[in-house]
Amino acid sequence: MATTITMPQLGETVTEGTVERWLKQPGESVEKYEAFVEVSTDKVNSEVPAPVTGTLREILVQEGTTVATGTAIAIIEEVGAVPAASAAKAASPGAAASVTEPPKTREAMAASANLEPVPGFNLPEMPVQHAGNGHARVAPPEASSETSLRGVSPAVRKLAREHRVDVRSIRGTGANGRVTAQDVLAAASAAPAPAAAPPAKTAAAPPLKPGTSTYGEPIPGTLIPLTSARRIIAERMVESKHTAPHAWSMVEVDVTNVWKWRAREKDAFERASGYKLTLLPFFIRAVVESLAVYPLMNARFTPDGILVERDVNIGIAIGLPTNLVVPVVKGADKLSIKGLAIASGELIDKARRNKLSADDLQSGTFTVNNNGANGSYASAPIINGGQAGIVTMETVVKKPVVTADEAIAVRSMMNVCLSLDHRVVDGYVASGFLADLKKRLEAMGPSGIL
């Protein structure tokens, strides 16, 4: 029996998902609960487990394609079942014939090669045909060993990208009509201006040079294709900056005592929990206490009014080599400093191992950005969409400070910067919030109960 696999709903507000990577190819067997496809939504990548044991019969959605949740993405033939294709062949010779018809075969070959959309040339729509089961689907490739030999090779993909040639426009001279690297080079020298690319885009595009450039290893003079994470970050940042009028303020906080408190506790804490004790949980604790005093800072702008959030869920901005993630400590106002240290430690650990779930990334109501690790003294952060503000912790520096009794003392000072959505709050509330936060941080330590 064939089981149709649909795009799962990864998170309550998610309406669509992108097929990032097929971990199995048609013809390969899958175990129940074995991951067989990687799907991404918003900022999270998830591996989807197979609901049944069997053979992956068909891939219906190519890598890089975004479809609505519930859309059929693959068909798994359960173990022991007769492949539907051979059943269809027996029942309806016409339907099967169309599958093996030569012109379709070449397109199936191209489809099976999982061509990514490449900036600079447009891929035609994948050919679809209707099979007996009623699903619109890409014509399936032939026997798997043949398929792997007949796919578009990495060299062809690279050369096609570099020379902006549409592989499907080339007549292959390789075995069984395969397009070879030589064919691409021949096509590139025959047609210097590719027809597939609109002239305006061609003119605007930066010159492409040989070499595979990635975000991790950027090569000057090349174009790095957008990953879905990169694309989403770009969209979110533009959206936030365009819709939320950002205002900015900064206070200088004396963290000498809380710094000493942390130093006193950190070794014992790390031994007991396995997580490093940074200033972050102390800071989050102060933030949630200030949010309790200034609930307007824990709110969002909606067309109907200012929605004051019930929960206090603190997002933590974490920079990874290729992208930013903001996992959320839920119910942060109900956690002690110790609880916050463990919760944030877990999330940071998961982020670095790329194991964050969709759930880890949603429902944030306010965001903290620990920006000072590399010495930043002040920064103007962009608000996470749907929140009233974001605060940063800048670098801690020792400075001579005039104390309340007019003496000069060496103190550990840290700037705290706030960006706020001016639609939600004005400077009056924001500065009150910052002053409250400063007061709380300065009151922490040099000892206490975590």
Binding site: S153, P154, A155, T180
Partner: protein, 333 residues
């Protein structure tokens, strides 16, 4: 010896013999130790009459005890001699595995550089001579996993001399593999005088543009035969002779693959976990986006040994015709 001026035609046995003779002549620290190396003069007559000229203290006949041969040689090497140990056939090297892997290869590391182990272990290997189960084996993959051990397997007389000299000069242990079918089959010009070929450098024996073939030992000759035949069909195949298995000349392989975009590895040893597996992995890691075809390995089937019966031996070995078929398929792919 005369000053390097000309060259002489030699087969591989003669090249090994001439090089060993020079080494014995030029350096008193050189010692040859192994089964039948003395009075018998080696089963292939490589050290014939050496014992008469250099005496039994420098040409040492041993009992049939490979662990002792290598173990004694390791001690000699650590204390300043330049031993050249012989394992009569590579098939018999297993008892010496611990001495080679556990001792020789680790000497420098274990002693923090205080001791080195300038030891050469020569051994004839390979099949195609009706040698059956115990005179046909390829052992390179069993040893190439081991850091600290160099492995060379030259195919041409001139390379034999240059690499054997380099192995003798090397301060660390070198496993020197001599393909026994090439011993008298392969002849070539060998330059006069002392010279070395750096260990770890491959050699492009034939240039081509459509396919890179990487091989070593006897199969280099057969691959060249196949590639030359394909030239008549208008197909252009590049043949690289690894010469050194470890260190491996990654640069030469990658440069060639980036040019031809296709890679075929041919070796006589079993396919699974063989030298070809390492080359494939390296190319996949370094040059995936230059590949226009799946990497292919033509190697022995995973059966325990090469049989004595001719059909079994032929089934185990690849022939020049089979090599040509694989090359043709890959060029046309």
């Amino acid at each position: 010896m005369a000053v390097a001026s000309g060259s002489q035609t030699m087969n591989n046995v003669e090249a090994v013999r001439a090089t060993l003779y020079e080494a014995m002549k030029n350096d008193d620290r050189t010692v040859i130790i192994g089964e039948d190396v003395g009075n018998r003069g080696n089963v292939f007559l490589i050290t014939k009459d050496f014992i008469k000229e250099f005496g039994p203290q420098r040409v040492i006949d041993t009992p049939i005890a490979e662990a002792s041969i290598v173990g004694i040689a390791v001690g000699m090497a650590m204390e300043g001699l330049r031993p050249i140990a012989e394992i009569q056939f590579a098939d018999f090297i297993y008892p010496a595995f611990n001495q080679i892997v556990g001792e020789a290869a680790k000497t420098r590391y274990r002693s923090n550089g205080e001791y080195t182990c300038p030891l050469v272990i020569r051994t004839p290997y390979g099949g195609g001579v009706r040698g059956a189960l115990s005179h046909s084996v390829s052992i390179e993959a069993l040893f190439y996993h081991v850091p600290g051990l160099k492995i060379v397997a030259p195919a041409f007389p001139a390379d034999v001399k240059g690499l054997l000299n380099a192995a003798i000069d090397d301060p660390d242990p070198v496993l020197f593999l001599e393909h026994k079918k090439t011993y008298r089959l392969i002849k070539g010009e060998v330059p006069d005088g002392h010279y070395t070929i750096p260990i770890g450098k491959a050699d492009v024996k034939k240039t081509g543009t459509q396919l890179t073939v990487v091989s070593y030992g006897l199969y280099v000759h057969w691959a060249l035969e196949a590639a030359n035949a394909l030239e008549q069909e208008g197909l252009s195949v590049e043949v690289i002779d690894l010469r050194s298995i470890r260190p491996m000349d990654r640069t030469a392989i990658l440069e060639s693959v980036r040019k031809t975009r296709k890679l075929l590895i041919i070796h006589e040893d079993n396919k699974f976990g063989g030298i070809g597996a390492e080359i494939s992995a390296m190319v996949a890691e370094e040059a995936l986006f230059d590949l226009d075809a799946p990497i292919r390995r033509l190697a022995a089937p995973d059966v325990p040994a090469m049989g004595y019966a001719l059909p079994l031996e032929e089934e185990y070995m690849s022939s020049p015709a089979e090599m040509a078929d694989s090359m043709r398929e890959m060029v046309r792919f």
